[in-house]
């Protein structure tokens, strides 16, 4: 599992293995200031980073 959040310190404290920094607290996988196509491209990039994190073995909380 990878958790996408802006509160990576909280995720670390509770022992989440893979943590990926999100965009904003109230929309971790959004960039509303971008035009829709660019926002989607940005989101695909972020989720791709999440998939890379999933492929990385970890044994303690790691912020990607």
């Amino acid at each position: 599992m990878v958790v996408i959040t802006c509160l990576s310190n909280v995720a670390t404290q509770v022992g989440v293995g893979r943590i990926l920094g999100g965009s904003k607290f109230h929309y971790p996988v959004g960039q509303p200031e971008l035009p829709p196509e660019e926002e989607l491209r940005w989101r695909v990039g972020l989720v791709e980073k999440g998939l890379c994190a999933l492929e990385t073995p970890v044994n303690e909380p790691k912020v990607f």
Partner: protein
């Protein structure tokens, strides 16, 4: 002094499981274990009555049961209310917990019950109810009944220290909040804590930290190309209108909703139920909390095998960590049972 004692159908000697649907019955005398407690209190000029109710009846007809218990309270006017002990009997323990909490809140007399710490009733205790710790079975009956009597005697004397000592020694540690007056206002205490920390002195937070349990971190087994990936969120995203009434805070449940055949979330079809963040940006495009559109792009690109047909959702604000643990375990079990190999969880 008057004591009213709540018993289930079994301990009230009405019958076994076949009588679990028995309605509330007021009996103007002690029954069974009540007789033992009455006997130990005989020096106190005690008047003792019993209110009995079937284990199933209480849970199936809670309102009717409580209203019949109210009638018994009005008729008998007790000074003390006791229930059980329920040991590790779940239905009985829950009924004891709910009845005692209700009596304490509505009737303002001391309410005492007894159960084992694993009894689910111990999680449903309201404020100020005494919950005497018992063993898991009726083998600890004699000792438990002795403690009921001892507590009633201490409450009669009204010595707060003795009562608190009893609570510390014999009652289940049920977390409660009390209002206490402190020696200094909060900003002074906060500054004192900070100064102590800077000076390397010993300091102690006024808020107990929730202990987080260590748990194993699973790694991907096999190749992501062959894995089904699921989306999970604590961001409260539900179909418009919130058909299952997901709580917007203090969540106690989770739901899964289908995304089979859906390419992205559109405004007006889904919305976020969550008092912990400003949901307006997510409501305009719910992909900003559950990245469905991006996952579809990567699924088409064969980055992974398949996006799971449901996403899972709860509300992670103002909630009890223990409840969240339950919810997490429930979601994990369902995902593992559906052959999901990896999860992306978004959190606010």
């Amino acid at each position: 002094m008057k004591v009213l004692h709540y018993l289930n159908q079994f301990f009230a000697q009405i019958g076994g499981e076949e009588k679990a649907g028995h309605e509330v019955l007021f009996i103007p005398r002690p029954v069974g274990v009540g007789g033992v407690i009455e006997n130990t209190l005989k020096d106190h000029d005690v008047e003792y009555a019993t209110v009995a109710c079937g284990d199933n009846y209480f849970h199936e007809e809670e309102e009717k049961a409580l209203s019949a218990i109210r009638a018994a309270l009005e008729q008998f006017q007790p000074d003390f209310f006791i229930a059980g002990p329920a040991f590790n009997a779940g239905r009985y323990g829950l009924a004891c917990a709910k009845v005692c909490s209700w009596v304490r809140d509505n009737w303002r007399i001391p309410a005492i019950t007894g159960m084992h710490e694993d009894n689910p009733g111990s999680k449903e205790i309201g404020r100020h109810v005494f919950v005497i710790q018992t063993g898991a079975s009726a083998a600890s009956m004699q000792e438990s009944l002795r403690r009921f009597s001892l507590l009633i005697e201490r409450l009669l004397v009204g010595d707060d220290t003795a009562i608190e000592n009893f609570r510390a020694e014999h009652c289940l540690p049920i977390p409660r909040r009390f209002t206490v007056r402190s020696g200094a206002p909060d900003y002074v205490r906060a500054a004192d804590l900070l100064l102590a920390k800077i000076q390397g002195l010993r300091y102690e937070s006024e808020i107990p930290q929730v202990e987080t349990k260590q748990h194993p971190i699973p790694n991907l087994t096999g190749n992501l190309k062959d894995a089904t990936v699921a989306l999970v969120t604590e961001g409260g995203l539900v179909p418009k209108g919130n058909p299952d009434r997901l709580e917007s805070s203090r969540g106690s449940r989770y739901f899964k909703y289908t995304i089979e055949g859906r390419e992205d979330f559109r405004q007006g079809e889904f919305e976020a139920m969550h008092t912990g963040y400003d949901t307006s940006t997510v409501d305009k495009d719910p992909d900003r909390i559950v990245p469905l559109d991006a996952m579809r792009v990567l699924e088409k690109g064969k980055r992974f095998k398949k996006l799971h047909d449901h996403y899972f959702v709860t509300t992670g604000t103002g909630a009890m960590p223990s409840k969240m643990e339950e919810i997490g375990a429930g979601i994990a079990e369902e995902l593992a049972g559906s052959g999901v190999g990896a999860v992306i969880l978004t959190a606010t």
